[in-house]
Amino acid sequence: MRQMWLIFGGAFAIYVVLAVIMGVLPGFALSSIEPTPGLEPLTPLEAEGRAVYVANGCSYCHTQQVRPLPQDRVWGRPSAPGDFAYQTPELLGSQRTGPDLANVGARQPSATWHYIHLYNPRAVVPESIMPPYAWLFETVDQAPANVPAVPLPAPWAPEHGVVVPTREGEALVAYLLSLKQPPLPGASEAGAGGDASHAAPVGDGSATRTEEQPSEAEETAGDDYRYDPARGESLYVAYCAACHQPGGQGLTGAFPPLKGNAAVNDPDAARHIRVILDGLQGEEIDGVFYGSPMPAFRTSLDDRDIADIVNHERRSWGNAGAFVTAADVAAHRAAAGE
């Protein structure tokens, strides 16, 4: 009997102590972290959407955490401890079969895009392997007054009637659009990626993490800009093609075409650059009204990135706009800045 108590009792006691130290106590300590300034609690509709997100296991393919690593800069600034204050259950995720969503509300603020994409992801991203969530929608003869019909492109649109989101669909998109990282106090707004260095983890030791963050701002400030077509195409695919489509044709009624677009072909690139810097919403383009917002890329892309994208758009799909340089973008950034 004594042997049994020593082995099982001893092992059990050791384990309980370790479980408390490594599981329970950090849990208590970290449960009371203050929210990041500017972080809003979810509205009831957004909270409902979060439940839809959880129920359908979105977080098995999508993370909601941005690491202080160079390859994570495309997703936003590094996550801060207070970012998760209103996140229970936590949805940090463990896999990126699909993109990170920590800042998706800022990266992709168009509800229209999210509706089309959820109905069938391949309607906007042909190579996507995300499942369709058609059960968050219903087909009706006519859209109710307060619910906009989803402008599905031809192969996906129903033969009769229009597709509208259900309450669950609306809630999920409301939740996705609520996922915006509030800027951290002291983080610089200008240029790209510079804010990566504000990834302060809880406790000390943050210095070791920040050293590795090079600032691209210096590299791109110079005037020795040369257009790199491969880079332009790659950036276009990463930041623009989800809406404007790989062929630049857009989706009629949802996202304007860049192919043959007046601003893109205008010898004066001012409007082209400004729209990318500051976004656009609610304008008529080539006789079609576009209500869904385009995000501002002022903080997520630097001057060279934007110049490469502008030049790619101006020299693809039969367009013939004049080239721009990083200095042009810098000038507009400064002129239109706050």
């Binding site: 009997m1 042997q3 049994m4 082995i7 099982f8 092992a11 059990f12 050791i14 384990y15 479980a19 490594m22 599981g23 329970v24 849990g27 208590f28 300590a29 970290l30 449960s31 009371s32 972290i33 129920a55 359908n56 296991g57 979105c58 977080s59 098995y60 393919c61 993370t63 690491r67 690593l69 160079p70 390859q71 996550s79 970012d83 998760f84 996140q87 229970t88 259950p89 936590e90 949805l91 940090l92 995720g93 463990s94 896999q95 079969t97 069938n120 391949r122 190579e127 996507s128 499942p131 969530y133 990834a199 302060a200 983890p201 809880v202 406790g203 030791g205 943050s206 790659s234 990463a238």
Partner: protein, 479 residues
């Protein structure tokens, strides 16, 4: 259930042949019951796995909500962990506890209660997840909390029964195997309790609890259970003592002390406290001690017995299981390094790793020990051919699966580091997803054969040799 450890029915009245036969029957039916239900969950969970693998290449296939990827992914992992592996290992642990203690199970009724509760939790959990009732705590605690409480009840019942069995042992010492199996059930009662209580799980606090939970639920449940059963099955099968009892004891205590500390290595580069992440990395390296120590102990027990291995598929399965333990756990240590995690974290490399460990180690271990021990309980055996088909399909299938995802996952991570558009990593993975499906299909087919083999051992007509000449391997026909 009053009386605790002293109240073993067999000792309350004069021992007769009749009682021994009754005890053996009871133990056999418990062992068979756990194994058969485990096989059911294995077929179900890996069938779901095939569907998931197919959906990665054909995302518009089977678009019903309850068949959608996000719901079935959790069904697959939970049914594998808590259905298949848990039931199979608990069945084995009951048999090992009674056999190594030369006594009867403390309570057959408790064993059946555990079986019912485990299966009930798994069934309810599966239905709940399909219907979209997901508690949202990623990685192995997605079942709604009342279901996890049922599972905790099953664990408690199992712990009580195993302890009672060991307490009633007819041997002087507690055999090492029981240290591991009883320890595992006790630790896991704690893990399940910590996982279910709500007070310290808000926001980032829950992230740290998730790190603790997901890692401990694997490494202090499946790992020690499997190792404990190896400590019984290997010597039994080889008819020779374990190489070093002391090394086994060292591995037990070091696994116990190091493992609970390393959970946060699943959350490197998150805003979790820096000390928590770094401590996790340091102790991930310390895991080399129990892993290499334990592996060496098993391999040295097998030393010089290659000819037996060639003639015994149960030994071959166990050998692969031991190698899977060594390679999978060592790989886990490397993945915990920040420099390597930069490449591999969030990629399908991790999925390859979890299959290397849960399949290469745990599942191969279960297959081998079931083939080694179940015939001793039932007196019947499976055909050598059946076990050969099972072995080679499972081995080749899991190799294809793990290698394709390791290569694909590395490419995925390098794509991100090279700054390519995200969709490029999705495109680049496609060929590897096909190979994953091929490997997965072979593994699934091997499980169908396994089911047939288990059926033959449980209810077949071919008797196992009554006494095994040397290690010519009870339960298996001579070559």
């Amino acid at each position: 259930m009053q009386g605790g450890s002293a109240a073993i029915p067999a000792t309350q009245h004069p021992v007769t042949q009749q009682d021994h036969a009754g005890d053996r029957d009871a133990l056999r039916s418990v062992f068979v019951g756990y194994t058969i239900t485990a096989v059911f969950w294995l077929l179900f969970a890996t069938g779901v796995g095939i569907l998931l693998a197919y959906k990665l290449g054909a995302p518009d296939f089977a678009p019903q909500p309850w068949l959608s990827f996000g719901r079935l992914r959790a069904v697959h992992t939970n049914a594998t962990f808590y259905g298949f592996a848990t039931l199979a290992l608990v069945g084995l642990a009951c048999y090992v506890a009674a056999s190594s203690s030369r006594t009867a199970l403390h309570s057959t009724r408790l064993a059946w209660a555990g079986l019912v509760l485990f299966n009930l939790a798994c069934l309810a959990g599966t239905v709940a997840l399909c219907l979209g009732y997901n508690d949202g705590n990623l990685e192995y605690r997605e079942w709604p909390w009342p279901i996890r409480v049922v599972f905790l009840g099953a664990l408690g019942v199992t712990a009580w029964n195993l302890i009672g069995t060991v307490a009633g042992r007819k041997t002087e010492d507690i055999y090492l195997a029981n240290w591991y199996t009883v320890g595992a059930t006790l630790f896991t009662c704690v893990i399940a309790t910590v996982g279910v209580l709500p007070w310290y799980q808000q926001g980032l606090g829950q992230v740290s609890v998730s790190g603790y939970y997901m890692h401990n639920a694997v490494g202090l449940w499946f790992t020690p259970l499997m190792l404990g059963i190896f400590y019984y099955a290997l010597p039994k099968r080889l008819n020779r003592p374990i190489y070093s009892y002391a090394l086994g004891v060292l591995a037990f205590w070091t696994n116990l002390v190091f493992y609970p500390i390393i959970g946060a290595h699943h959350f490197l580069f998150t805003p979790l406290p820096w000390w928590l992440q770094t401590t996790a990395i340091v102790f991930s390296v310390a895991m080399f001690v129990p892993v290499w120590g334990g592996t060496a102990n098993f391999l040295l027990t097998m030393r010089g017995r290659v000819s037996d291995m060639v003639h015994s598929y149960s030994l071959l399965f166990m050998f692969v299981g031991v190698i899977g333990y060594l390679v999978g756990s060592s790989q886990g240590t490397f993945e915990a390094f920040r420099s390597l995690q930069e490449v591999w974290h969030f990629t399908h490399f991790t999925v390859g790793h979890s299959h290397l460990t849960m399949y290469g180690f745990i599942s191969f271990g279960i297959f081998g020990t079931v083939y080694a021990l179940l015939p001793l309980a039932t007196g019947r055996r499976a055909s050598r051919f059946g076990m050969a088909v099972h072995f080679w399909l499972a081995l080749v299938g899991s190799f294809i699966y793990v290698i394709s995802l390791s290569v694909g996952g590395t490419i995925q991570g390098l794509d991100w580091m090279a700054g390519k558009p995200f969709i490029q990593s999705v495109i680049d993975l496609q060929p590897f997803f096909i190979w994953r499906g091929v490997g997965g299909l072979m593994m699934f087919l091997s499980h169908v054969v396994f089911a047939w083999n288990v059926w033959r051992i449980a209810y077949g007509r071919e008797p196992a040799p009554a006494t095994a000449p040397r290690a010519s391997l009870a339960g298996e026909a001579p070559a």
